[in-house]
Symmetry: none
Subunit: 224 residues, 2 copies
DNA sequence: CTAAAACTTTACAATTTCTTAAACTTGTAA
DNA sequence: TTACAAGTTTAAGAAATTGTAAAGTTTTAG
């Protein structure tokens, strides 16, 4: 299901956009200001974010900038809503990493087709680059740096995510400690003997302990 | 990213090779003498090592020999640089486990294509290495460190797996105790006389006792 | 600058694997 | 038959490896 987040300070507009997008089968979430928007984006990890530019406190441009700072939103599609007469912002909007802008007043037809076009474009890029990896009951989304088990979002810190990604890159293959160490820490970082174990432990805690198997004296493997 | 380590005592040559390889997108590291080369090899774990043969103190041949002693370099590609008039060393170079040699003066084109060919070859061998060994009713999967008999998964501890792998590497061949001892424990570990027997017994217990035959006074073999 | 999160280390506990010692078999030659 | 040589089996405990909680350190977000 495609998740869309809309951030706008006018409830009327939220309702209007929401209604039209839901009718098309999207899962729509809304926020009434920039701060809530940022928070919600992190919580639901939408594929597409629609930001009104003109908002009190934190405007859309700033929200976009802050989103793009976080790696998990590097490839999220962000589009702006602009009043017709503030088209000067186009430049700035694209500067901070926006993908498109939609001019008010918004016609439902235009909105829908624009949104679909954006998602389609993104989908192509995604297929080309990095697909979502599915193993057993997990979906691992490299772009968004998140793991899904069913509907549940499992947020993993960087090292744990890398570790999982490594193990899952070849399900079943046994990775030696050396191999893990070299691939994740590299040759110029020195970490103690128990570091890998501890990360493995945390991973097991979060994704379930059956999946990662220990082979004593050899290494670890992801069993599926 | 493919890492290449070049060891040569002449900076000009290092620069020249380095420049040409980097242009092709390789990650190049250099060392000015054998000792540094060995150290650096251990630190960066390159896929390919280029060694000049003529070097003061420790020459390329010796560096290669020392590298090959360490298991982590068993499958690293090592190639030599030789002056045209010292081609007598070819023999020695291949003796100590070199994969190829490149004659000076070096032409960039030759260098690049040779390096690429070597890396390609290695990749194929790696794939080869990943093959599952099938003997009689067993499938031995090195990647997963597990044995399959039909649908049944047989997990073996490290030593037993190594032992099976050894016996199965040449089905029918008789391995003496000495040979087994040397290949699995190596020369610096001392274990008692009965240790091999016990491991053989456990293997028989798990994979069936018909397959491993005892030849009294001689050794063991895997019958198929 | 502070708090929180992420990461690493430490110090033991727990577990698995390996080795050994000793009793038991088997084959064989005197 | 007996004695010996070689191998097998068993069970116990040594050794090696990994798991865990908690504390310490570093990084990041606000």
């Amino acid at each position: 299901m495609t998740k869309i987040l809309i951030v706008d300070d006018e409830e009327d507009i939220l309702d209007f956009l929401s209604y039209n997008l839901k009718k098309e089968g999207f899962e729509v979430w809304t926020a009434l200001n920039g701060m809530d928007g940022l928070e919600m984006a992190n919580k639901i990890r939408p594929q597409l974010i629609i930001l009104d530019i003109m908002m009190p406190e934190i405007d859309g441009i700033e929200v976009c900038r802050r989103l793009r700072e976080q790696p998990q939103f590097h490839s999220t599609i962000i589009t702006f809503l602009t009043a017709r007469d503030e088209d000067f912002t186009q430049i700035k909007a694209l500067d901070v990493g926006g993908d498109d802008y939609i001019a008010k007043p918004i016609k439902p037809q235009v909105l829908i087709s624009r949104v679909k076009a954006l998602l389609r474009r993104n989908k192509l890029e995604e297929d080309d680059n990095e697909k979502i990896i599915e193993v057993s009951d997990l979906k691992i989304d490299r772009q968004r740096v998140q793991v899904l088990r069913g509907e549940e979002i499992i947020d993993l810190p960087k090292k744990e995510f890398e570790l999982l990604l490594l193990l899952v890159s070849r399900p079943g293959k046994v990775f030696t400690r050396e191999e893990i160490y070299h691939k994740i820490w590299g040759s110029d970082v020195i970490v103690g003997d128990r570091t890998i174990d501890v990360h493995i432990r945390k991973l097991r805690e979060k994704i379930g302990s059956d999946q990662i198997k220990t082979l004593k004296g050899i290494g670890y493997k992801f069993d599926f």
